[in-house]
Symmetry: C2
Subunit: 246 residues, 2 copies
DNA sequence: TACAATTTGTGCGTATGTATA
DNA sequence: ATATACATACGCACAAATTGT
């Protein structure tokens, strides 16, 4: 089925067969045809439908597995990755104790409303200037003490009604994004600077004004690299730290 | 779990063939038999020497390539990865401008001497208590302005003479570690907190006392996970930030 | 408990394409 | 142009894990 995808000239469009298959599979996943947590057809079934050898299809699936898009299990099958697995829960949460131990954060929502995006915010989220956003402000506690103050922004059009529903927000928002809106956060870019706590941050975090904080600016993206959420976190590093393994 | 009664033999030692081959290759690389930058024998040659099929050997090499241990190039061969490639240069340097642009740091050595390690330092570096370390203190400039103050510690026994030679230290120390001492930094764990600049840091970085800084504590490890270097960096985030993609 | 069916994992072989020297 | 080396694609056989009968 080499003729399914043309590519007669090698110019910039050439892709090996297994990568074309990979893209086709990815499309069916990100379109929602195969939703997170469900099992996709077996290797042999997919190989026959696409008209390629099992080995070629395996290579496509293995690349998707390497990118954490699917999970493969011997004897069971291949499922689309979800965000409710433990490791995925902490994949985007890099705050831990100085000894490396991670604990579950508890979130307290301070504010939750619909508003117009600033020019900079709209540009970062990839929405038209003056578009609306849902703004969530919350404090996250670690081991019973406030540790993180967060401002969260998402496009109101793609997250319809998020300012009202659900009544109580889970502390793992990315799971909600995936379950309720079909938006899967796959990557994120973070920029970290050091700042001094202002009045509001100091009172929210229970520290003195002027205490040094980490300010983490994060842009979360989906599989296609499109912006999903912009988040600004202020972290008190009295009892915790930002952890990164490279 | 059900077969806890059984499997006394295969449980701890079983590894697929391609992974055993991978370990054998890794051993010849980390032992220095195949040094960074050199080409290793071809797939077919290695397959016959180890008595496995080419496909099995390919799978071992591809895993090593995914871990950045080797670099494979069609038509040329497979070489052991080096740290002098551009992307590798910035792999362990996450400081960039707010717009994401990265620039080459320029390093000025302030101090360079042999001394005894503290108990905590020895434990982190995995050397006996009271063992000796080479201590390097330096300031790194970005775009002409001091931006980072660093304290660097390595085991003196494994880095013999580093307190004296070479006369001038390159600003990419990891490349030196690899070239001169055969120690390749493969991974690193970083912990980041926010602090206020003290007198020494303030003067070194040209900022006011009390300015918030990022304090990055890094432990660099080789392929086997053994500690190679401990580094404490103070970063002024007036003009730069810490960047992380997840 | 045993067995069979399904699905992925491993290992082998071959042929051909493409980049490099 | 030739030889070498890796990349792609196909096929087959069997092992191991999971599930249901």
């Amino acid at each position: 089925m080499n003729d399914a995808v043309q590519a007669p000239f090698k110019a910039p469009t050439f892709q090996p067969l297994y990568r074309q298959i990979k893209d086709l599979l990815m499309e069916r996943i990100s379109s929602g045809e195969w939703s997170p947590g469900t099992f996709i057809p077996s290797e042999t079934a997919l190989a026959t439908t696409y008209g390629v050898s099992v080995g070629t299809l395996r290579k496509a699936l293995n690349e998707l597995m390497a990118e954490n898009v699917v999970v493969r299990q011997q004897g069971k099958g291949t499922s689309v990755a979800t965000h409710d697995a433990d490791h995925a829960l902490f994949r985007f949460f890099n705050i831990c104790r100085p000894d490396g131990e991670r604990s579950m954060p508890v979130s307290i929502v301070l504010e939750r409303r619909l508003r117009k995006a600033s020019a900079a915010e709209a540009a970062e989220l990839g929405i038209p200037a003056g578009g609306k956003v849902v703004h969530i402000a919350r404090v996250r506690e670690l081991e019973g003490k406030p540790a993180i103050y967060e401002d969260i922004l998402v496009c109101a059009e793609r997250f319809l009604g998020l300012e009202k529903q659900p009544e109580v927000l889970p502390n793992t928002l990315y799971h909600l994004y995936q379950q309720r809106y079909g938006m899967t956060v796959a990557h994120a870019d973070e920029r970290i600077v050091a700042i001094c706590a202002n009045d509001q941050q100091a009172t929210s975090l229970g520290v003195a004004v002027g205490t040094p904080l980490l300010q983490i600016s994060r842009l979360a993206r989906d599989y296609q690299g499109r912006p999903v959420e912009k988040r600004l976190s202020m972290v008190s590093t009295q009892a915790h730290c930002y952890s990164n393994s490279i």
